[in-house]
Amino acid sequence: MSVATEGIVEGPIDAGALRSRLLGPGLGGVAVFEGRVRHSEAGQPIQGLHYEHYPRMAAAAMAQVLAEAIRRWPGGRVLAQQRVGWVPVGEIALWVGCAYAHRAEAFAACQWVIDEVKQAVPVWKASQVPGSAQRAWAPGQVIRRVGG
């Protein structure tokens, strides 16, 4: 049994619904990561982050990440959602969940998926400079192919 479900979503991520889809008999190790927006960036208070993406590539890249995770760690369930658009402080921007028979695969797959999403999916985040209409884009990493 291997299941990978991916997504780029606009609007709040339903962590409870995602988590319930992870669970299954025989899956005793469940690792969940919730990347939430902090209240400050570079020492400046913010109200949220704006996430932009390249729709034509982003969903396909997310699907590739999760398919590769299942190829590397078969026999479990891997789900992930990246939220785009405006994400207020405290809300989830990236959700990754991995369920396997044991914790080692769950942790390893979860960490790997997070890293891949950050390097191989065309998504960019920016904070609004206080008192200005200007956006400050996060430095980021040079994009590469999934698993590259």
């Binding site: 950050k118 960019w124 884009w137 990493q141």
Partner: protein, 80 residues
């Protein structure tokens, strides 16, 4: 010949445009197109950190550009 060029994130702000139809020269590659369109807006080091996608596929800078292609300039990503 022309290509539909997409600018994202910081590149969109720097160039002041999200998408534009740009002329493509015979034997053009995406790296040459990138240099022509972005060099005025950023130093060479910044240019090297921008990857290109053609019709939704990440490609090397030597990848050819054909009439009607969608070329996306992708600055360093910061999802998550």
């Amino acid at each position: 010949m022309s290509a539909r060029v997409l600018y994202f994130a910081r590149l969109k702000d720097l160039c002041g445009v999200a998408a534009a139809d740009e002329a493509v020269l015979p034997d053009d590659c995406v790296g040459a197109l990138k240099a022509r369109l972005l060099a005025a807006h950023m130093p060479e080091e910044g240019l090297r950190s921008v990857r290109c996608a053609v019709n939704g596929e990440l490609v090397d800078d030597m990848h050819p550009v054909a009439d009607g292609d969608e070329v996306a300039f992708l600055p360093p990503v910061s999802g998550g």
